[in-house]
Structures are given as C-alpha cells and as structure tokens.
Symmetry: D2
Subunit: 290 residues, 4 copies
C-alpha cells in the first residue's frame, strides 16, 4: 500500500533575536523536512517572535515524535529561554471538540453542518446543553448529547460539565451561544482551549443583552466577536469579529436576527483558524496566520 507524504505544523513563539529563521530552517532540513508554507511575526512592543511553518518530509519518513525530538535537540540553545514554546503536530490530527449550547440553535447547527460537510478538521465528540430540546439537533448529526441542568446549583452543574469535558478528553470546548458564565477555575484550567462567541462587537456592549444595548445607543452596525475564554468575562483574546449594517427600522428582534449571521460567521472562522493552529495568544491579543 502507498503511503502519502506526511505534513507537519511547527509553531514557535520566543523572544526575538537575530538568526532564528536560518537556525530553525536548518534544523528542519537536518531532520529531513522541507518547508512548504511559512509565516512569521515579531511584535514591535514586546519583541516576541511568532513563527508557523508547514513542513513535509523530504525523502526520509518523518513522525511527529521524531520531528519534535529532533528539533528540540537541534534548537536546544534557542529553546532554553523564558517565554519560549515549540509545538509540532502532524496535520492529520483531528482535535476532539465539545459544543456547548443553551437555547439558540443557529451557531450549534452551523458548526455541526460545516463539520458534517467536512469544512472543519476536527471530531465533534459531544454536545452539552442546559436546555433539553437541543438534543434533537445533536441527534441529526448523531453526536452524543448531554443535558446539564443549570436551574439549581450552578457550581454542581459546572462541575458536571467539567467532568464531561474531561471524560471525553476534549482538546477544545466551543461555547456556541452557551449563556452561563464559567467559574474562573474552569476558565483557567482550559485557557487557550475554550472559544466563545459573544453577540456584540466587543468591547462595545459587553455583558448582558448586547442587542438591546446596541438598539438603545442607536449604532448603525452590530457585530459579533469570537474570543478565547478567560477569567475576565468578555475580555479574552479576540480571534475574529464580524459586523452587519442595521437601520433605525430594525427592532431589537431584527438586530438579533441580523446579528446571528455575524455570530455564526465569526465563530466558524475563529474555530477554523484555531483548528488549523493559526492562532497565537499573547497577553489579551492574538497573532493570526491566515
């Protein structure tokens, strides 16, 4: 049987200094890899360097483990510093994703349908919702469903969600209009591995009922923001945003309808960027290699 050419993603973040590109590309070549796509960025304020390479094997067979160890060894001096992180992944890996939802279905169904039609390189392993009627949607896509009741003890409910995420060994949790605020302990535990879609163009209209806030202020565009969840509600690093034009004729209900389009687009784009390892987080900002 034929074996395809393996492709790997190499992500490096470290303080900038002279010669990194030459050093890394030589180490890749020494391991038998050839660079097929490259992107890099240095933040002028913090002088942090970010690099994303896609690498193919060049004649020799490469494994993720082998390539990682080879690079760690070849770049030992570079990697032996503060704020430095190297990640190596074979691109056939499909992250395990859990979707969390409440009442609104538009983001949930959109992500599931994109996944079903192979737009999203991941395995959606479960849907968790605090409203039982979402089970029907999970059923359409034959994804296991869990209803967690948030009407009583919220701490217990969150513990149940957290255990489910652990049991499914999820790599990424997607809050697809999940309307409960995670306790800091879980946000911290899942830092960089939990994505939310907020239904406003942050930082405008953070908090509750953003479309009503937008209507009251009389803005001429509304939007949505896809961001990583952090302890500071609605303050996490932004991955993507989308806006749509509105008018005085639009009621708050119209804003919700028009905003739903932004929500599902910003979420789908942000999710795809994350799944393809195109997002680096630093502080409350992101570097996006799209």
């Amino acid at each position: 049987m034929m074996r395809g050419i393996s492709r790997f993603r190499i992500m490096l973040s470290c303080p900038d200094r002279r010669g990194i590109v030459a050093e890394v590309s030589q180490a890749i070549a020494a391991q038998g890899g050839t660079v097929v796509t490259a992107a890099q960025f240095t933040d002028p304020a913090s002088h942090q360097f970010f690099m994303r390479y896609e690498v193919e094997e060049d004649g020799v067979e490469l494994t993720e483990e082998g390539l990682r160890k080879g690079l760690e060894s070849g770049l030992a001096q570079l990697l032996d510093g503060p704020n430095t992180e190297l990640t190596v992944k074979q691109d056939v890996q499909r992250p395990r994703v859990a979707l969390l939802a409440s009442k609104a279905s538009h983001c949930l169904v959109d992500v599931l349908q994109r996944w079903r039609t192979r737009e999203l390189p991941c395995d959606i392993v479960c849907v968790i919702a605090n409203h039982a009627h979402m089970e029907e949607y999970a059923g359409w896509f034959k994804v296991p469903f869990h209803h967690v009741d948030f009407t009583g003890d919220k701490a217990a409910a969150f513990a149940q969600v957290d255990k489910l995420l652990d049991d499914y060994t999820v790599d990424l949790t997607v809050l697809a209009r999940f309307m409960q605020v995670f306790p800091d302990s879980i946000s911290a535990k899942r830092a960089g591995a939990m994505i939310n879609i907020h239904h406003s163009f942050l930082p405008s209209f953070a908090g509750a009922r953003p479309y009503d806030q937008a209507h009251a202020r009389g803005v001429k565009l509304v939007g949505a923001t896809c961001h990583y969840v952090t302890a500071d509600l609605d303050e996490g690093p932004i991955i993507d945003q989308e806006v749509v034009r509105i008018s005085h004729r639009d009621t708050p209900a119209d804003l919700r309808r028009k905003g739903r389009i932004c929500e599902r687009e910003a979420l789908a784009r942000g999710l795809r960027l994350h799944l393809e390892d195109r997002v680096f987080v630093y502080g409350n900002r992101t570097v996006i290699f799209d």
Copy 2:
C-alpha cells in the same frame, strides 16, 4: 426665460396617530403639490412618527413660504400638539457650512474636494483651524481661512470660533477632525447643527487616542463614527459608521492610516445625509431616510 419645476422637502415629526398620511397628502394636494418621493417611520417604543416627502408643484407655482403657510393652516389641528415639528424647504437652498480642523488634513481635503466636484449640495463658507498650516488647504479651494489659537485661553478661543460661526451665519458646523472639546454652552446652542467625526466605532474607545486603545485591546476591525455633537462627549446621536478590517501586523500608526478611510467615508456620508434633510434626531438616536 424658462422656469424649472420647483421641488420641496417636507419633514414632519409628531406623535403617531391614525390617518396622518392621508391628512398630509391631501393638504399637499390642496396646496397644488404632488408627492414624488415618500418615506416614513414610527418608532415602536415612543410612538413618534417621522415623515419625509419630496413634493413638486403640480400646475400651480409654489413657493417655500406659501407651501409652508398652506400646510400649517391645513394641518393646524395635527400640528397643535406636543413634540410636533414641521419643516418645509425648497431643495435649491444650499446650507452654509463651516469646516473646523486641527492638524489632520484627510477629512478636510476630502470634504472640500467633494464640494468642489459638486458632490455636496452646500456652500462651504469658511475653514477654521487651530493649526495655521491648514490655511494652505483652504487656499486650494479659495475658501476663507481663520486661524484660532487654542494654546492659551481656551474659553476665549471658543468664543472667537463661536463669533466666527455667527458672523458667517452658518447653518452647519462640521468638525473635520477638530481636536478641541466644545463647551456645553456652544454644543447646546448649535444642537442638531454641529456634526463630528469620531475616530472610533462608538461606543468602543470613546475619549482620547482611540486607535491606541483599539490596538491595545486587539480588536480585528476599527472604525469611525459620524454623529451630532451634544454636551455628552462622544454620546451624541449617530448618523453613520464605517469599519475596516485590521490584523496583528498593524501598528497603531497603521490603524490610524486605515481608520482615516473610515473617517472620511463616514463623515462624507453623514454630511450628505444631513444636507439632504434625511436625518431626524430623537433622543440620542437617528432616523435616516436614505
């Protein structure tokens, strides 16, 4: 000599009640007018009704004064209530506009050039700036220029600006990136007759240095807001907004450059809407009949 057909704009705002459209259109017909364009809106929350008609004379010769008096008389009962305002204007009227600027030229030059190429139905009667080098731009367009020094006594400087606006009998004052904050007394005196362009997508990043704020927050779009000036800084009724996509590669200087495009677009569109009497203000919101 031939006389063209006169066209008039009729703007009415009043509490909604049954039959207004029939009543107004009959009064217009009784005066010898025919409706050529119509737009109306009732705010569902306040039940305030807004109407904008363009009317042409139908066989008889109409004057602005005659049409206004005729309508005031024919609609006396309708107009005799609270929160009611009727405006009648012949559309050949060209509002007298003053442009105020500081250091940045992009909005000033854009408005002047659109005016010169007959995109904007107004007379630009003067340019006032707190930086003397703006005189060159006013000179290109042969518009009188006044330098007002704001480095010393600001109250005196504002009094000087206010007097200039009075002396020029301006109908509209346009703050084309004028970076001084008007005292409440002048804002109140010129309510609905002073337009500002704010260099952020309000309500995000109100206040000073919005592009630096936007960069620090890591948003993925920046924008600009054209609004009426009120005593509450950056809280006035919004006429138009515009946004542009940015990336992590963009420095605060890049945001300023990209944002300038939004600023001049939002200002030009907002100004045009105002000059064509397409904007109604109610509370801190606007109805726009575009």
Copy 3:
C-alpha cells in the same frame, strides 16, 4: 376571543402621473385603513411608478377581499391603464414554498433552519431533489421529500417536477443550488415565482463552474447572486448579491467554501424580501423596498 388588528400590504405599479399618492391614500382612508409604512419609487427612465404600503384597519374591520374591491372601485380610473397592477394581501398569509436541491446542502439546510426558527414567513411544503441523499435533510425538518431522477429523460423529469409544484399549489419555487436548467416553458409559466441562487457575482462568470472561472481569472472577491429565473439563463432580474474577499492562497475548493457563505446569505435575504412582498420586477431589474 380578542381579534388582533389586521395588517395589509398594498402594492401598486403603474405609469407615473401627478397626484397618485393623494389619490391612493384617500382611497385607503375611505376604506377604513390607515397607512403605517410607505415606500415609493419612480424609475426616471421609464416613468414607471412603484408603491408599497402597509395598512392597518382604522376602527372598522377590514378583509383582504373587501379592501381589494374597495380600492379597485375607488381607484378605477387610475387602474384602467396599461402596465398597471394592484395587489392587496393580508400579511398573515404564508406563501407555500417548494425547495429544489441537487447535491449541495448548505442553502437547503440554511433555508429550512431559518424557517424552523421562524425567521421566514412562509410554509415550506416540500423538498424536491435530483439526488436521493437529500431526503435525510428534509426528514430533519419533517418536510415531504421527492426524489426526481434526472439521469435519464430530462424533459420527463422536468414534467414530473412541474406536476409536483402544481400538486402542492406552490406560490414560490426556490432553487437552492438546483443544478438542472429549467426549460423555457416552465420558466415562463412561473415567471416571478421562481428564485435561483447563482454561485457567482453576476454578470461575472455566468454559466458553469463559476468558482473555477473566478480562480482562473484571478479576481480578489467572489460572490453570489439571488435572482428570478427567466428563459435567459443567469440573466433574470437580480434581487440581492453578496461578495467575500479571497486571496491567491485560495484554491477553487476554498472559493467554493467561502462562496457558500455568500450563497446562503444572498438567498436568505432575497427570499425574505420576496416573501414580504418587497420586490417589484420591471424588465430585467428590480425595485426593492427594504
């Protein structure tokens, strides 16, 4: 039991002449109606006049039939001319809609899900597809499904589709990425009652494989066009269009993925405009009162 206030849509298209607005609004008032929203337009080239009113009963009970007859009688002189059409509809009417699809599911599922979540004021009465696997999607939404085989005699297949549309007494046929070209006889029979989504920004890339054409030409934006079906393929009156930015990195498959977003947006917006009777067709152009 309480009875709500009835609301009606009045659509009028006729050659422009003086006084139409006054005449119509008086006729509406005479029937016991009051105008709640109004929009009108006169095409400067053809002098055709278009008007859309939403009218509520004012004290007396109105029926669609009664209002229509009253207006036809009151406006007899106006209506007794060429190129004149008056339509009166109670807005609780829900048009009967058939969805036609082939292989691609994104438009089909999007329309069905918007309908399920009550975004679209219609009854979707059946799904017809030339690919049998679309049955699963119809099943999710509990909509009757019909597979029509187009691999053999296409004329017979189209006759079968046409009979299904007749049997279901559909008001509107939506081609949700249905990839068979209707014969002229059916297009003509269903003129103004059949909407297509074309996967390019028409008139660019009409015909087959538009995303491959777009890629070959190297454009920097791709789009989609929602239009009425006419005998001239891809030449029908355009209701709405949408575009998205692309780059040299995007393969034809990426264009298809990005374009799908445009397709479903343009289709959903166009469909909604049609269902709310906001679209007038004249020649190969449309007037849209949104």
Copy 4:
C-alpha cells in the same frame, strides 16, 4: 553620525523544489543578514514558488549591491534555471512615479494627497493629462505637469507620453482614470510597471461606460479593479478590487459617485502593495503578500 540599520527586500520566484527555504535563509545568513519578515507561496497548479523576505543586516554592514551579488553567488545553482527571478532592494529606495489623468480628479487628488501626507513610499515626479485643467491639481502639490493633446494624432500623443515617461526615468506609471487606451507596444514595454484603475468589478462590465452597463443590468453592488496594464484591455493581472452596495434608487450618476470611492480605495491599496514590492505577477494572476 549614527547610521541606522539597513533593511532589504528579497523577492524570489522560481519553480518549486525541496529545500529552497533552508537554502535561501542560509545564503542570507552567510551574507550577514537576518530575516525579519517572511512570506511564501507555491501555486499548486504551476508549482511556481514565490518568496518575499525582509532582511536586516546582522552585525556587518550590508549594501544592496553586495547583498545581491552575495546571494546570486551563494544561490547560483538555484538561480540557474528557467522561470527564475531574484530581486534585491534596499527599502529606502523610493520608486519614481508618474500619474496620468484625464477629466476626473478623484483618483489623482487622492494619490497626491496620500503621497503628500507620507502614506505612499514613492516620489511622484510628474502629472500628465490630456485635459489641461488638471494642471491646477498638480500645482497644489508642486508636481510638474504636462498637457498632452489627444484630440488629434493619437499615435503622436502616445509617443509624447512615452517620451515623457522615459525622460523622467519613471519606475511606475499610474493611470489614475486616464481614459485613453495605450497601444500594445507601450503596454508591452512597460509590462509590470503600469497600473490602471478600471471603474468596474472586472470581469463584469469591461469596456466603455461600465456604470451605465451596471445600471442597465440591475446589479446590487458596483466596484472597481486595480490591475496591471497588458495588451489585452481590462484583462491584466488584478491587484485589488473593491465594491459598494447600491439600490434601485441610484441613477447612473449615483453609481459614478459611489463607484469613485471604490476606485480611489482600490487604486491606493494596489499602488501601496506594488510600491512595497508585495505583488508577484504570474500569467494573468497575482500573488499578494500583504
């Protein structure tokens, strides 16, 4: 006196093969350079490889000439093939640009004003127009102006333009709404060094009077296209495009007004991309490293 750090742009285009990145980055390091930004792309169809590096000197002093020779020598084997091109430029170089215009001023004034406010890294060395009144604009910016009469012998007029461009030793010719069609001989001579702004979203509405064509077709968006001039009119490689939404209310004159915004944006963005050496042309397509 202090000497700043020199920065160079290295652009390479060649048939793809294994190891290019490592080879080039080693050659750069060997010359005493360090890579500060990198972008690359391989066209999957033609397997052509494109790379753009920004390089700074790393300890030793670099000159453009020295770096070029060093790389040509170090990469001799790589460069000794078909379809291969290496360019090395110090980024302080400011290309010499000529602007050509006809009657419309919006693109001309916008480019000049962006240049004056230091948005565009070039020297604008002359304005050439076939309408004499454009001299006033050139005068504002103190740029030499040449009126070339096209009402008589067009071939002679083009020869005069060509000679002016030669005399000014221009690196780039920008057709800022210049409405004369260049003969093939000049297009060929200046291939890749002549940019045009076309006032439609190509390939829609190529040829004359695109806004009238767009109005006649009833499209819902109009646009503009910035492209390199080639012998095939309106068929050159596209650098950037922009669109704006329109409605049935917009006359052809309104389309021209709204389109002007697209024209100046697409031109300014395309021009900037070219000046920063971010555009590679292959066939009738472009790779843009923005």
